[in-house]
Assembly symmetry: C2
């Protein structure tokens, strides 16, 4: 353990993404070139639809984490560029399928692909990107990386089905919710960072440290995402605010508000999650109840817990600059309000 | 080339699937055990939905071809059992997504999964099976097999998008149609048989022969499928008869009827494929026009051409029994009327 670990509470200035962007700028140029090159196809609808989402203001957070983890490992090669692109393709495929599953209207601040191109094309181009991700991994040729990413992909799919099963079920517990986001979100973060330890031929302990970093960051990130959907102080997010509410998704702010509410409030939540309260005034009431019981802040507090675990997980890596940039990016992720 | 190649025209008795079933019985027992074992998940909806389709009367044709090809290669091991299961999972995933894309009502003679479980679950369980297929391949550990099957999967996805693009477009040519079915159907048949040559460590020429066998059989199979949808002499198929017509799919019987029709008939086809003629009487008229111009028989004739190429492709393999069983299965496939 290094002595210069920054704790979330001790930082004096507002966390910034700038060090992370600087750390990964060169690598991300290469990754972006692979992404643009490999989303092409002779079937014009494929790059059109994929480009709608991929070129549409995504943060490329997951491939950026792969690149950052490679820097943390002192890796000098370029194998991780293709793999980072594969990670982004897997993520994009799940976003496309999520939008079909949820019937989303908006994604990243513009009309979702299913609205512009229809559900059929969106499902199929999602499939295409997923297969393309596997082609990239096979080209790299590491069975260990293939195992990590195929396992992660399978866990993501299970998590998505699990989330669908929990939808509109008021009895969903915090433990079950954590299991869902651990699968649907954190598994890919964990794989994205772990594979850099593999290509850098680091020890099993270092692999596991980067897995833990990604996994905890992923959980923290999803918690904040779910908090923002009910945060009266947050600005508009890329997706429609109140989507989770109208879709009857059992996210932590709702789970906590239900647990902390009185009998009248619980009745409201039961009706709302079952789909009988979907008006704007119902959403406003939900936000009011969630804030009355401090559930946005409680969710953010949970997120800070996982964020701190992510930061501590990589304390043993000697690359101080990369480590500091990654830690500050984690803090940035949990402090964000959009 | 062996002298005892059976030509399609020379067989005296009606072709039977029995020799193929006998050839692959033992292997398919093992494959079925892998399929049932690996479609399990702690999320109950996954085996429920996957089982609806997988246990629901599928012919398991593609894994059967993998097993048969292994016999043809004289392969004594069991690696191909997992890989055959992976092939079936890939196929099942595409069927599930197809049913969502097409809004199918029926599949294999019963309600399609999307009708029973809804589109969201059907999309996500399709994703799960696809990822599970890759896990099985990674467990096997052959990068060559992974390359063949990830490439095939990518081509299938491209073919599906291509088909979607061609839908309701009367100008689709026979060449374009052949390209679509070469991707969406024949690529997986080709991969299913080719991988057995890889695990049996056969020569590149033998790999290519099995690839050609599967590819030509796949094209023949899809041609017959598409003919049956308009064949007035065929019994009910598992899917709803007339589905292709109502969905405006440009299959070969329609392409030929349009090409061979007069101005009045062409106007009918233009309106029908555009989606303005979807009544039962329109379908009856379509069948009448297709049969008037012999387009079902012409499509079947094209299928027999590819079937013969498939049979000839494996003439050089010494395993006479396996070769004869595979050849007769090809004949059976093109002669079927359901």
């Amino acid at each position: 353990m290094s002595a210069d670990v920054v704790s979330l509470q001790s930082r004096r200035h507002k966390p910034s993404l700038a060090p992370m962007l600087a750390l990964t700028a060169a690598g991300m140029n290469s990754v972006n070139a692979v992404i643009l090159d490999r989303m092409q196809s002779e079937i014009p609808l494929i790059p059109a639809l994929a480009g709608h989402l991929i070129s549409g203001g995504g943060k490329r957070m997951r491939p950026m984490l792969t690149v950052a983890a490679a820097e943390l490992c002192g890796y000098q090669g370029n194998r991780h560029h293709k793999l980072a692109a594969a990670v982004e393709f897997i993520h994009t495929a799940t976003l496309l399928h999520d939008d079909v599953v949820d019937g989303s209207d908006m994604r990243r601040g513009k009309a979702a692909a299913n609205i512009v191109f229809g559900n059929p094309a969106t499902v199929l181009v999602g499939d295409f990107l997923f297969t393309r991700a596997f082609e990239l991994m096979v080209e790299d040729g590491s069975l260990k990386v293939l195992k990590i990413l195929s396992k992660a992909s399978s866990i993501i799919a299970e998590g998505e089905v699990d989330q669908l099963t929990a939808q509109r079920r008021i009895e969903t517990s915090e433990e079950h919710y954590l299991q869902i986001i651990g699968s649907k979100t954190a598994a890919l973060f964990a794989a994205a960072t772990r594979i850099s330890a593999v290509v850098a031929e680091k020890s099993e302990a270092e692999e596991q440290a980067l897995d833990a970093f990604g996994r905890n960051l992923g959980i923290a990130f999803q918690l904040v995402d779910d908090a923002i959907d009910y945060d009266s102080e947050s600005s508009e997010s890329g997706k429609d605010k109140g989507d989770d509410f109208r879709e009857g998704k059992m996210t932590l702010p709702v789970i906590l508000a239900y647990a902390r509410g009185d009998a009248v409030e619980r009745k409201f939540w039961e009706e709302a999650i079952a789909g009988f309260r979907t008006e704007d005034e119902d959403l406003a009431h939900a936000v009011e109840l969630i804030n009355r019981h401090g559930c946005v802040e409680a969710t953010r507090e949970r997120a800070r817990h996982y964020a701190q675990r992510a930061i501590d997980a990589i304390a043993g890596f000697p690359a101080a600059e990369a480590r500091a940039a990654m830690a500050e990016a984690v803090e940035f992720a949990v402090a964000r309000r959009y």
